[in-house]
Protein backbone atom coordinates (compact mmCIF):
# COMPACT_ATOMS: atom_id res chain seq x y z
CA UNK A 1 0.00 0.00 0.00
CA UNK A 2 1.13 3.51 -0.81
CA UNK A 3 0.00 6.69 0.98
CA UNK A 4 -1.26 9.25 -1.50
CA UNK A 5 -2.07 12.87 -0.71
CA UNK A 6 -4.88 14.72 -2.48
CA UNK A 7 -4.61 18.49 -2.40
CA UNK A 8 -7.11 20.83 -3.98
CA UNK A 9 -5.84 23.62 -6.21
CA UNK A 10 -8.30 26.36 -7.10
CA UNK A 11 -11.16 28.29 -5.47
CA UNK A 12 -10.80 26.81 -1.99
CA UNK A 13 -7.32 25.37 -1.62
CA UNK A 14 -6.93 22.34 0.59
CA UNK A 15 -3.58 20.91 1.65
CA UNK A 16 -3.94 17.20 2.43
CA UNK A 17 -1.70 16.27 5.35
CA UNK A 18 -3.54 13.03 6.20
CA UNK A 19 -3.36 11.16 2.94
CA UNK A 20 -4.90 7.84 2.14
CA UNK A 21 -3.35 4.37 1.82
CA UNK A 22 -4.24 2.88 -1.54
CA UNK A 23 -2.95 -0.12 -3.51
CA UNK A 24 -1.87 1.67 -6.70
CA UNK A 25 -2.07 4.69 -8.96
CA UNK A 26 -5.34 3.47 -10.49
CA UNK A 27 -6.97 3.57 -7.06
CA UNK A 28 -5.46 7.04 -6.52
CA UNK A 29 -6.96 8.23 -9.79
CA UNK A 30 -10.38 6.85 -8.81
CA UNK A 31 -10.13 8.65 -5.45
CA UNK A 32 -9.20 11.95 -7.14
CA UNK A 33 -12.13 11.64 -9.58
CA UNK A 34 -14.49 10.79 -6.72
CA UNK A 35 -13.28 13.77 -4.70
CA UNK A 36 -13.72 16.16 -7.63
CA UNK A 37 -17.23 14.81 -8.25
CA UNK A 38 -18.16 15.16 -4.57
CA UNK A 39 -16.97 18.77 -4.51
CA UNK A 40 -18.88 19.64 -7.69
CA UNK A 41 -22.01 17.90 -6.37
CA UNK A 42 -21.78 19.74 -3.06
CA UNK A 43 -21.73 23.11 -4.80
CA UNK A 44 -24.12 22.76 -7.76
CA UNK A 45 -24.60 26.53 -8.09
CA UNK A 46 -20.98 26.98 -9.16
CA UNK A 47 -20.77 26.83 -12.96
CA UNK A 48 -17.09 27.31 -13.66
CA UNK A 49 -14.66 24.72 -12.30
CA UNK A 50 -12.04 25.29 -14.99
CA UNK A 51 -9.38 26.60 -12.60
CA UNK A 52 -9.81 23.70 -10.15
CA UNK A 53 -7.64 20.59 -10.03
CA UNK A 54 -6.46 17.90 -7.63
CA UNK A 55 -2.74 17.60 -7.07
CA UNK A 56 -1.75 14.07 -6.08
CA UNK A 57 1.58 13.42 -4.38
CA UNK A 58 3.28 10.57 -2.54
CA UNK A 59 4.97 10.47 0.86
CA UNK A 60 8.13 12.00 -0.59
CA UNK A 61 6.05 14.95 -1.82
CA UNK A 62 6.69 13.85 -5.38
CA UNK A 63 3.96 14.62 -7.84
CA UNK A 64 2.10 11.55 -9.08
CA UNK A 65 -0.43 13.35 -11.31
CA UNK A 66 -2.74 16.37 -11.57
CA UNK A 67 -6.42 15.88 -12.29
CA UNK A 68 -8.40 18.76 -13.77
CA UNK A 69 -12.00 18.85 -12.57
CA UNK A 70 -13.06 18.82 -16.23
CA UNK A 71 -11.67 15.27 -16.46
CA UNK A 72 -13.99 14.13 -13.68
CA UNK A 73 -17.29 15.31 -15.17
Amino acid sequence: MIRYFFSIIGGRPFNDIDGLELPDIEAARAEAIGLARDLMRMEPERQDWSSWSIHVTDEKHQEIFDLDFSEAV
Binding site: F6, I8, F14, D16, D18, L20, E31, G34, L35, R37, D38, L39, M42
Partner: protein, 240 residues
Protein backbone atom coordinates in the same frame (compact mmCIF):
# COMPACT_ATOMS: atom_id res chain seq x y z
CA UNK B 1 -25.71 11.57 28.84
CA UNK B 2 -28.89 13.59 28.75
CA UNK B 3 -31.26 10.80 27.71
CA UNK B 4 -30.30 8.79 30.74
CA UNK B 5 -30.62 11.76 33.08
CA UNK B 6 -34.11 12.42 31.73
CA UNK B 7 -35.57 9.09 32.68
CA UNK B 8 -33.36 7.94 35.49
CA UNK B 9 -32.12 4.90 33.59
CA UNK B 10 -28.61 4.06 34.72
CA UNK B 11 -25.85 4.30 32.17
CA UNK B 12 -24.43 1.04 30.91
CA UNK B 13 -27.79 -0.70 30.61
CA UNK B 14 -30.01 -1.07 27.60
CA UNK B 15 -32.98 1.27 27.93
CA UNK B 16 -35.52 -1.09 26.34
CA UNK B 17 -34.62 -3.91 28.71
CA UNK B 18 -34.70 -1.38 31.56
CA UNK B 19 -38.33 -0.51 30.68
CA UNK B 20 -39.52 -4.10 31.06
CA UNK B 21 -41.18 -5.12 34.31
CA UNK B 22 -39.37 -7.94 36.19
CA UNK B 23 -41.83 -10.63 35.04
CA UNK B 24 -41.23 -9.79 31.38
CA UNK B 25 -37.49 -9.46 31.83
CA UNK B 26 -37.50 -12.90 33.46
CA UNK B 27 -38.73 -14.38 30.16
CA UNK B 28 -35.61 -13.08 28.43
CA UNK B 29 -32.92 -13.20 31.12
CA UNK B 30 -32.14 -16.93 30.96
CA UNK B 31 -31.26 -16.57 27.28
CA UNK B 32 -29.49 -13.19 27.27
CA UNK B 33 -25.74 -13.37 26.92
CA UNK B 34 -23.40 -10.40 27.10
CA UNK B 35 -21.05 -10.05 24.14
CA UNK B 36 -18.41 -7.40 23.50
CA UNK B 37 -18.26 -6.50 19.85
CA UNK B 38 -15.25 -4.87 18.18
CA UNK B 39 -15.46 -1.90 15.85
CA UNK B 40 -16.15 -2.96 12.28
CA UNK B 41 -17.68 -6.36 13.14
CA UNK B 42 -20.61 -7.45 10.99
CA UNK B 43 -23.57 -8.32 13.24
CA UNK B 44 -26.05 -9.00 10.48
CA UNK B 45 -25.91 -9.19 6.70
CA UNK B 46 -28.81 -7.79 4.70
CA UNK B 47 -31.22 -10.43 3.41
CA UNK B 48 -29.71 -13.18 5.56
CA UNK B 49 -31.57 -15.14 8.25
CA UNK B 50 -31.68 -13.45 11.65
CA UNK B 51 -29.87 -15.55 14.27
CA UNK B 52 -29.70 -13.06 17.14
CA UNK B 53 -31.41 -9.98 18.52
CA UNK B 54 -28.98 -7.50 20.14
CA UNK B 55 -29.69 -5.08 22.98
CA UNK B 56 -26.67 -2.74 23.20
CA UNK B 57 -25.54 -1.48 26.61
CA UNK B 58 -22.76 0.62 25.11
CA UNK B 59 -21.24 1.41 21.74
CA UNK B 60 -23.07 2.05 18.49
CA UNK B 61 -24.32 -0.05 15.61
CA UNK B 62 -25.31 1.30 12.22
CA UNK B 63 -27.89 -0.20 9.91
CA UNK B 64 -27.20 0.24 6.22
CA UNK B 65 -29.23 -0.16 3.08
CA UNK B 66 -27.08 -2.20 0.70
CA UNK B 67 -27.15 -1.67 -3.07
CA UNK B 68 -26.27 -4.26 -5.73
CA UNK B 69 -22.83 -2.67 -6.12
CA UNK B 70 -22.18 -3.59 -2.49
CA UNK B 71 -22.19 0.08 -1.48
CA UNK B 72 -24.28 0.97 1.51
CA UNK B 73 -25.74 4.10 3.02
CA UNK B 74 -26.84 4.77 6.57
CA UNK B 75 -30.48 4.31 7.46
CA UNK B 76 -30.32 4.18 11.26
CA UNK B 77 -27.96 4.04 14.19
CA UNK B 78 -28.66 2.00 17.28
CA UNK B 79 -27.19 2.43 20.72
CA UNK B 80 -28.31 1.68 24.27
CA UNK B 81 -31.76 3.13 23.49
CA UNK B 82 -32.55 0.40 20.98
CA UNK B 83 -32.27 -3.11 19.63
CA UNK B 84 -30.96 -4.75 16.46
CA UNK B 85 -33.17 -7.28 14.65
CA UNK B 86 -36.09 -6.70 17.03
CA UNK B 87 -38.61 -7.62 14.32
CA UNK B 88 -37.43 -11.24 14.64
CA UNK B 89 -39.76 -11.23 17.65
CA UNK B 90 -42.71 -11.01 15.27
CA UNK B 91 -41.38 -13.87 13.15
CA UNK B 92 -39.57 -11.82 10.51
CA UNK B 93 -37.05 -14.39 9.24
CA UNK B 94 -34.51 -12.27 7.31
CA UNK B 95 -32.94 -8.88 8.01
CA UNK B 96 -33.79 -5.91 5.81
CA UNK B 97 -30.48 -4.11 6.41
CA UNK B 98 -26.84 -4.76 7.19
CA UNK B 99 -25.84 -4.10 10.80
CA UNK B 100 -22.23 -3.14 11.55
CA UNK B 101 -20.68 -2.31 14.92
CA UNK B 102 -19.34 1.25 14.53
CA UNK B 103 -18.17 1.91 18.06
CA UNK B 104 -17.01 -1.03 20.16
CA UNK B 105 -19.44 -1.93 22.89
CA UNK B 106 -21.24 -4.56 24.91
CA UNK B 107 -24.64 -5.95 23.99
CA UNK B 108 -26.91 -8.58 25.45
CA UNK B 109 -27.90 -10.91 22.68
CA UNK B 110 -30.61 -13.53 22.54
CA UNK B 111 -31.28 -16.21 19.93
CA UNK B 112 -34.06 -15.10 17.58
CA UNK B 113 -36.10 -18.24 18.37
CA UNK B 114 -36.03 -17.57 22.13
CA UNK B 115 -36.91 -13.93 21.57
CA UNK B 116 -39.87 -14.91 19.43
CA UNK B 117 -41.16 -17.24 22.14
CA UNK B 118 -40.90 -14.45 24.73
CA UNK B 119 -42.74 -12.02 22.44
CA UNK B 120 -45.49 -14.60 21.92
CA UNK B 121 -45.78 -15.15 25.68
CA UNK B 122 -45.81 -11.51 26.78
CA UNK B 123 -48.12 -8.72 25.66
CA UNK B 124 -45.77 -6.25 27.41
CA UNK B 125 -42.72 -7.23 25.35
CA UNK B 126 -44.83 -7.38 22.18
CA UNK B 127 -46.17 -3.88 22.79
CA UNK B 128 -42.74 -2.44 23.61
CA UNK B 129 -41.17 -3.90 20.46
CA UNK B 130 -44.05 -2.66 18.30
CA UNK B 131 -43.69 0.87 19.65
CA UNK B 132 -39.89 0.73 19.41
CA UNK B 133 -40.23 -0.34 15.76
CA UNK B 134 -42.32 2.77 15.19
CA UNK B 135 -39.62 4.92 16.82
CA UNK B 136 -36.98 3.34 14.60
CA UNK B 137 -39.16 3.88 11.55
CA UNK B 138 -39.21 7.58 12.40
CA UNK B 139 -35.42 7.57 12.43
CA UNK B 140 -35.26 5.75 9.08
CA UNK B 141 -37.74 8.17 7.47
CA UNK B 142 -35.76 11.11 8.80
CA UNK B 143 -32.55 9.61 7.41
CA UNK B 144 -34.12 9.07 3.99
CA UNK B 145 -35.15 12.72 3.82
CA UNK B 146 -31.83 13.90 5.23
CA UNK B 147 -29.74 11.87 2.77
CA UNK B 148 -31.71 13.33 -0.13
CA UNK B 149 -32.14 16.94 0.96
CA UNK B 150 -29.46 18.11 3.34
CA UNK B 151 -25.88 19.21 2.72
CA UNK B 152 -23.09 16.74 3.36
CA UNK B 153 -21.61 19.20 5.86
CA UNK B 154 -24.85 19.34 7.89
CA UNK B 155 -25.13 15.54 7.73
CA UNK B 156 -21.57 15.17 9.01
CA UNK B 157 -22.50 17.39 11.98
CA UNK B 158 -25.57 15.21 12.61
CA UNK B 159 -23.36 12.12 12.56
CA UNK B 160 -20.91 13.57 15.03
CA UNK B 161 -23.64 14.65 17.45
CA UNK B 162 -25.67 11.45 17.32
CA UNK B 163 -22.50 9.42 17.75
CA UNK B 164 -21.51 11.58 20.71
CA UNK B 165 -24.85 10.75 22.32
CA UNK B 166 -23.97 7.03 22.19
CA UNK B 167 -20.32 7.33 23.13
CA UNK B 168 -19.17 8.24 26.60
CA UNK B 169 -16.43 10.57 25.44
CA UNK B 170 -15.99 13.71 23.34
CA UNK B 171 -13.33 11.83 21.37
CA UNK B 172 -14.95 9.59 18.78
CA UNK B 173 -13.06 6.73 17.16
CA UNK B 174 -14.93 6.97 13.88
CA UNK B 175 -12.97 5.69 10.94
CA UNK B 176 -12.78 7.78 7.81
CA UNK B 177 -14.12 4.74 5.96
CA UNK B 178 -17.17 4.66 8.20
CA UNK B 179 -17.95 8.35 7.73
CA UNK B 180 -17.40 7.99 4.01
CA UNK B 181 -19.90 5.14 3.89
CA UNK B 182 -22.43 6.93 6.09
CA UNK B 183 -22.33 10.11 4.08
CA UNK B 184 -22.01 8.47 0.66
CA UNK B 185 -18.88 10.46 -0.30
CA UNK B 186 -15.22 9.63 -0.94
CA UNK B 187 -12.81 9.26 1.95
CA UNK B 188 -10.78 12.33 1.05
CA UNK B 189 -14.03 14.34 0.87
CA UNK B 190 -14.58 13.41 4.53
CA UNK B 191 -11.13 14.80 5.32
CA UNK B 192 -11.92 18.04 3.45
CA UNK B 193 -15.24 18.48 5.28
CA UNK B 194 -13.78 17.61 8.68
CA UNK B 195 -10.88 20.01 8.17
CA UNK B 196 -13.34 22.81 7.41
CA UNK B 197 -15.09 22.16 10.74
CA UNK B 198 -11.68 22.08 12.43
CA UNK B 199 -10.67 25.41 10.89
CA UNK B 200 -13.85 26.88 12.38
CA UNK B 201 -12.89 25.53 15.81
CA UNK B 202 -15.77 23.05 16.12
CA UNK B 203 -13.78 19.81 16.15
CA UNK B 204 -10.29 18.41 16.09
CA UNK B 205 -9.73 15.87 13.36
CA UNK B 206 -6.79 13.66 12.56
CA UNK B 207 -6.96 10.45 10.52
CA UNK B 208 -10.40 9.41 11.67
CA UNK B 209 -10.09 10.48 15.30
CA UNK B 210 -12.64 13.21 15.92
CA UNK B 211 -12.76 15.31 19.08
CA UNK B 212 -15.80 17.54 19.60
CA UNK B 213 -14.63 20.83 21.03
CA UNK B 214 -17.60 23.18 20.54
CA UNK B 215 -20.87 21.30 20.83
CA UNK B 216 -23.16 24.39 21.01
CA UNK B 217 -21.84 25.66 17.69
CA UNK B 218 -22.06 22.18 16.13
CA UNK B 219 -25.72 22.12 17.15
CA UNK B 220 -26.23 25.33 15.19
CA UNK B 221 -24.64 23.83 12.09
CA UNK B 222 -26.55 20.55 12.08
CA UNK B 223 -29.74 19.95 10.08
CA UNK B 224 -33.11 19.64 11.81
CA UNK B 225 -32.88 15.82 11.71
CA UNK B 226 -30.65 15.52 14.76
CA UNK B 227 -33.09 17.34 17.06
CA UNK B 228 -36.15 15.68 15.48
CA UNK B 229 -34.94 12.12 16.16
CA UNK B 230 -33.60 13.03 19.57
CA UNK B 231 -36.90 14.65 20.60
CA UNK B 232 -38.86 11.55 19.56
CA UNK B 233 -36.44 9.33 21.47
CA UNK B 234 -36.68 11.49 24.59
CA UNK B 235 -40.48 11.41 24.46
CA UNK B 236 -40.46 7.63 24.02
CA UNK B 237 -38.34 7.03 27.09
CA UNK B 238 -39.94 9.68 29.28
CA UNK B 239 -43.49 8.42 28.67
CA UNK B 240 -42.89 4.67 28.75
Amino acid sequence: MVHAENNGTPNGRNWLLALLPPADLALLSPYLKDVTVKQGALLQEAGEPIDFVYFPHSGMISVLAVMQSGNGIETATIGREGAVNALAGFGVPNAAGRAVQQIEGTSSRIAASHFRTAVNDSAGIRDLIARYTDLKMTQILQSAGCNALHSVQARLCRWLLQTRDRADSDTLALTQEFLSEMLGVNRTTVTVLARALQDEGLINYRRGKVALIDRPRLEKRVCECYAAVRRKTDVFFSTN
